[in-house]
């Protein structure tokens, strides 16, 4: 185990965490500020990936594909809120779980009908498929660096938006006391709709970033949804800062656990046992982490100030 390999794995963990943050950021706002349980967030990832892949295939240009896919995902979130979600705010959480679980099935089937069950072709543009030497003798794919950069830019933009701008103040006020905010003459319905659409858009961006890396197929967002629920529980529901830090922690724990746990176990057990238990234990690590956080900090590491 060399130091460069360890640093490279830290970088891999950071990249995984940043992608996770893009999904979790929208979810934590929807869950924390709007008090709405939304399970179909993974579908927004899928919509983003499909929109980018389909437009890229049609125009032959990856950048146009992404540029046009962003408004598509924003619009999908906007209309989803308008058509379905807003009717569910007054219902209890169980109804919201059932309705949005139904949406997962609906979107997966709609994509299957529209694009077929096979994975879509999506690859990197030549300009992004090179390598950068991040450490001596360690070429790192350029596109993954771009993913990290976009994730960090989004995180910074959300942070400034929520804590430094007037609209951000209104969002926080709306979360704190929706009736009073509405009484002050602020259209809380439109505000929620825009938050929802922004969250969908962020998840869509995560999907666009994942498209060239992984298989673009129906249901591709679901594994991310489960992890991002873990992230917002660890980070504290409704806290963007918490979601960011928790996403990085989960990304690092998952990546480093996966890589180093099996070799660590080999020091104590024979190889067959270690090979069997290592990957199984590694995939449980983030959930163990979540359980530990829930025991000692039931409201998460950075509970939103309400």
């Amino acid at each position: 185990m060399t130091l460069t390999l360890f640093l490279e794995q830290l970088f891999n963990g950071l990249q995984a965490g940043v992608t996770l943050f893009l999904v979790a950021a929208g979810l934590t706002l929807i869950l924390g500020i709007m008090d709405f349980v939304f399970l179909a967030h993974g579908a927004q990832v899928m919509i983003g990936a499909y929109a980018a892949a389909a437009i890229t295939a049609a125009t032959g240009n990856f950048y146009i594909g992404v540029a046009l896919a962003i408004p598509v995902t924003f619009a999908s979130g906007y209309f989803l809120e308008y058509l379905i979600i807003r009717h569910l705010y007054q219902r209890d959480h169980m109804d919201q779980v059932l309705a949005t679980f139904g949406l997962i099935l609906f979107f997966n089937e709609a994509i299957r009908i529209g694009f077929g069950p096979a994975a879509l072709f999506s690859n990197l543009p030549p300009s992004l498929s090179g390598f950068v030497e991040i450490l001596p003798d360690t070429p790192y794919p350029t596109f993954r660096l771009v993913v990290i950069a976009i994730g960090l830019i989004c995180a910074l933009a959300i942070h400034i938006f929520v804590s430094r701008t007037r609209i951000g103040a209104v969002v926080r006020a709306g979360a704190n006391n929706p009736e009073m905010t509405a009484a002050l003459g602020i259209n809380i319905k439109i505000l929620f709709r825009l938050i929802f659409a922004t969250g969908a858009c962020l998840a869509g961006v995560a999907g666009m970033m994942l498209g060239p890396l992984t298989a673009v197929q129906p249901g591709m967002g679901e594994p991310l949804l489960i992890l991002s629920l873990v992230v917002i529980i660890i980070g504290g529901i409704g806290s963007v800062r918490g979601a960011f830090i928790a996403a990085i922690i989960v990304g690092l724990v998952d990546t480093l656990g996966r890589i180093f746990l099996p070799s660590l176990l080999r020091l104590f057990f024979e190889q067959a046992t270690a090979d069997g238990a290592g990957p199984a234990l590694a995939s449980m690590l983030v959930y163990i982490l979540m359980a530990v956080v829930l025991i000692f900090r039931p409201t998460g590491l950075f509970p939103a100030k309400v």
Binding site: E8, Q15, A119, L120, N123, S129, T214, I259
Partner: protein, 391 residues
Amino acid sequence: MKRNITIFAIILLIAGATALFLRSQQEASTVKIGYITTLSGGAGIIGKQMQNAVELAMVHKDRKLGGLDAEIIYADDQRKPDVAKQLANRLVKSDKVDVVAGVIWSNLLMAIHKPVTRSDTLLISSNAGPSPIAGNKCHENFFSMSWQNDQTPEAMGKHMQDAGVKSVYLMAPNYQAGKDMLAGVKRYYKGNVAGEVYTKLGQSDFQAELSSLRAAKPEATMIFQPGGMGINFVKQWKQAGMDKVSKLYTVFSVDGVSLPALKDSALGILGTQTWSPDLDNAINKKFVADYKAKHGAYPSFYAAQAYDTILAIDHAISKSGSTDTAKMRAALASGEIPTTRGNLKMNTNHFPIQNVYLREAVMDADGVVTTKVIETVFIDHADSYAVNCKF
């Protein structure tokens, strides 16, 4: 009075016998096949291709198998063993099918193996080939129209051994088939195993594993990552520039299911398989050409094996002249089944004895990426579990 009762009894007997006779007539003139595969969820594409191939076979046979009208009942197992078991029971008990066929996944086949074979119904696998039912848990009513799980990776191991590969890094998902595959490779590869990594089933990002692999600098890397995982792995392998570090060998990862999503990024990747679209025989040529014409893409090995399954049922009925389980079983067990892989021989455990080829991903004349046979690794390769099988 007594006479009346006698006449009445005779009439009843005649009526009953006629009904029985008519019923058996009706049964004999049609053949019913229950086809279990995964049509929904992420793996739905595999089941869809198999269904396409079964339908193509039915068109080629004019919807008659062995001269009898044939009916196929498709059942979606949703990739769940409990669902597969329910479906199998329904097909056997209420639909009263003559043959249950299909099944992609080893764990699902294990779940339905006992209920189907013990009900005196033939069970024909179009894909899964787990070792227990090839060995001591084998049953005479089961036939494989695919392979035993170990046959394909064994060929990969032999090829790497013959090619003089000094060190290899093995990677497979952490489940039974993954472990079987790597065990199969190691049965024939005797060089240095530089690493043996079990990834998460359904894993989408392999960057961390690739970083470790780069540091280990193995001469070759052998993966088993079926379906979407294969697409993810190969994409990321290319993007990380791993070709400069290690040579990639695959089993069940680069095929007709993943190639449309990989296109030219898969070019040059080697894998072993018992079938390839370019196998040179009349049945295969007709199958591949008609499948391409109808569905606009190359069939995968899953499709070819599904097609072969229907051909096998057709062969069994026409050779034995009946849909009686024992007679069809005898016809299949004697082998020489005409398939897309040529005339298939059957081992004593009812798994095929067949060639295993080394295939390379290449571009065809129309610019579509497909696979081509570049070497025959094994001729008439039998699985290693047949010795433990006693019916």
